[in-house]
């Protein structure tokens, strides 16, 4: 027993009980949903990474060897770290950059993160994200919730970007896509416009390769791969039956089942291999394969998806002529499909980059007449091209047309400047 200053006498049991109650009360804190969801996603992602890496259980005898190797690694890394390196830098437009690389787009406008290598992540209104890490050849960007348009600029040797969304990681070499993450429903949606990516995470532990024109949805009900032109679900696991989602099979299922008119009868496994090789930056492997099979025969035999992947490999691998031929083959063999529309846009870009202004303008008009995903981009680029070639006066009507159709598009500011200029 002990008297307190207030004159009360309290038993030892009461003191101990109250201390215990205070410890319990002190730990009764509310954890916000985002913190818990972030922690859960980090944990699941690490579990998936470990499974992929196949972390072995080490025997005690091996520990000495492991320690020696670790010491050697530490020394090597220390030396390596002494060499100064330049990482990409970034700037945020449309909102403020908060500590820790946190970016939140305003409720009624886009915000964008511009990287020094030309890559851009555009966050839709209300979307939250975070630049987790910048590297020599890219960055790691996390979408906490919402939708983002990602354009990773092509660079020699391949870019090194990882776009994370919940427990999923999208490895990007050089491509353009839209990704949405809904943490409340654990739902990932990715619409790949250009290039190829590999997605890893729950339900995709070994990586699922996607190529241009494909859409993937992953959530509690399973994995669904669509061709964006048909919206035909090609791989789902809602029934509980096992579905092989290895890169090869996912690609094969998608290409053979989703767009019959744009499919090859024999090239699905090869397309899957090409997509994986392009995603890994091994463009030469694809080009060697095509040369070995014969360019002309390949252009006439493989499906639209494979042709698009081949075009990517050729563009990134320094063979613009072959890229041009592959894209034209898509336009000729699969008219009216999403790959054909994408091919038109890429041909425009290549024509513009090559200084063939008339050809580019003609192709832009073709894209606009077909509508689709690239209509806004095509109209914006046409406006800029006309402005450069013929001046503001000639571009102003196109600017008005752009603002009317896409008032919040990427070229809206440039269009307004043209319209308001005297």
């Amino acid at each position: 027993m002990k008297s307190s200053d207030t004159g009360h006498v309290v038993s030892d049991d009461a003191v101990v009980r109250e201390v215990g109650r205070l410890i319990e009360q002190g730990a009764r804190r509310t954890v916000d949903v985002d913190t818990d969801a972030d922690g859960r996603a980090r944990f699941v992602a690490r579990v998936c990474r470990e499974r992929r890496a196949g972390t072995p259980r080490r025997e005690p005898r091996a520990i000495v060897v492991v320690l020696a190797a670790a010491l050697a690694t530490v020394l090597a890394v220390s030396l390596w770290m002494l060499i100064p390196r330049r990482h990409v830098t970034y700037a945020v437009d449309g909102t403020a950059l908060a500590s820790g690389g946190f970016v939140q787009a305003p409720a009624n406008a886009d915000a964008s993160v511009h990287f020094s290598d030309g890559s851009v992540v555009v966050l839709s209104p209300g979307t939250r994200g975070r630049v987790r890490e910048v590297r020599e050849r890219g960055a790691r960007f996390t979408i906490e919730t919402g939708t983002a348009d990602v354009h990773v600029a092509k660079r020699e040797g391949g870019a090194d970007y990882i776009i994370e969304a919940g427990p999923y990681a999208v490895k990007v070499i050089g491509t353009r896509f839209t990704v949405a993450w809904d943490p409340s429903g654990d739902h990932l949606h990715l619409d790949l416009a250009e290039g190829s990516v590999v997605i890893t995470g729950p339900l995709a532990e070994n990586g699922v390769g996607l190529r241009a024109g494909q859409i993937i949805d992953l959530d509690a009900s399973g994995v669904r791969v669509h061709e964006s032109s048909t919206e035909h679900v090609t791989a789902a696991s809602t029934s509980g039956d096992a579905v092989d989602a290895s890169p090869a099979t996912a690609e094969a299922v998608a290409s053979s089942d989703a767009a019959p008119s744009a499919s090859s009868t024999s090239a699905a496994p090869r397309g899957a291999t090409w997509a994986t090789e392009v995603a890994a930056g091994d463009y030469d492997a694809v080009l060697r394969d095509v040369d070995a099979r014969g360019v002309a025969a390949t252009l006439e035999s493989v499906g639209a998806g494979e042709l698009m992947t081949l075009a990517d490999a050729a563009r990134y691998g320094g063979r613009p002529g072959l890229a041009n031929d592959a894209l034209r083959a898509v336009r000729r063999r699969f008219p009216g499909t999403k790959p054909a529309s994408t091919a038109a846009f890429l041909l425009e870009r290549m024509a513009e980059d090559g200084g063939r202004v008339d050809a580019a303008l003609s192709l832009y008009d073709a894209t606009l007449s077909e509508g689709g995903t690239f209509a806004a981009e095509a109209l914006g680029r046409k406006m800029m091209l006309v402005k450069r070639r013929s001046g503001d006066g000639a571009a102003t009507p196109i600017a008005r047309q752009y603002l009317s159709a896409f008032p919040r598009g990427a070229y809206a500011d440039a269009a307004r400047a043209l319209v308001s200029s005297p």
């Binding site: 307190s4 009360h8 049991d13 205070l22 730990a27 818990d36 980090r42 427990p167 579905v243 099979t249």
Partner: protein
Amino acid sequence: MKRAAVAPKSSPAGDRGVVRALRVGYADDATLAHALAAGEPRAASAAWDRFSPLVRGLLWQSLGPSSEVEDHLQDVFLTLFRRARDLRDPNAITSFVIGITVRVARSELRRRRVRRWLLLSPDGVLPELPAVEADRATRDALASVQAILERLDPEPRLAFVLRHAQGMDVAEIAGALDCSLATAKRRLARATERVLFHAKSDPDLLTFVSSTEPALREGSES
């Protein structure tokens, strides 16, 4: 405490790249334990949903308000996932989780002691998070209790928390601390003695206790 390995559920030869329908939730502890032992990533999500409140609470109680609790939470769950095969009784997964949590907390308390020795932080604790919502007197009492816990060695501190905040009996404490029953009793007795000593030296804390324990005031008892 050594735990016998549980044979993982059979895995078909062609398991690579197989996608199955997500089983939303695992009905019972044994099912979840087997799924974790088999390395199913979906079981990782289910384990997080089921155990994170328990683990987070125990970490808060053991370590106090620390910005590192979320990192320790990751450590606990990764260890759970890696060591699920060592679980002898799949129905005892909750005890297994508590044991892992206690080991993680113990490591952190030891690290804090080293930090204190190295003067990296005045008290070995990293910057605190905002306090819980409570009146001034309760917040002061919480701070006093935290200061008392900081004076205890890791083992007695954990024994005290498990007994008086988690409500475990001595046998459960022995299991969680991976020690004998006698050792658990000894650690608990030492912790209780130290807590009483420091609490009785804190008049403000005693005043608070007396105000919240009216039934135990001497007058009431008589």
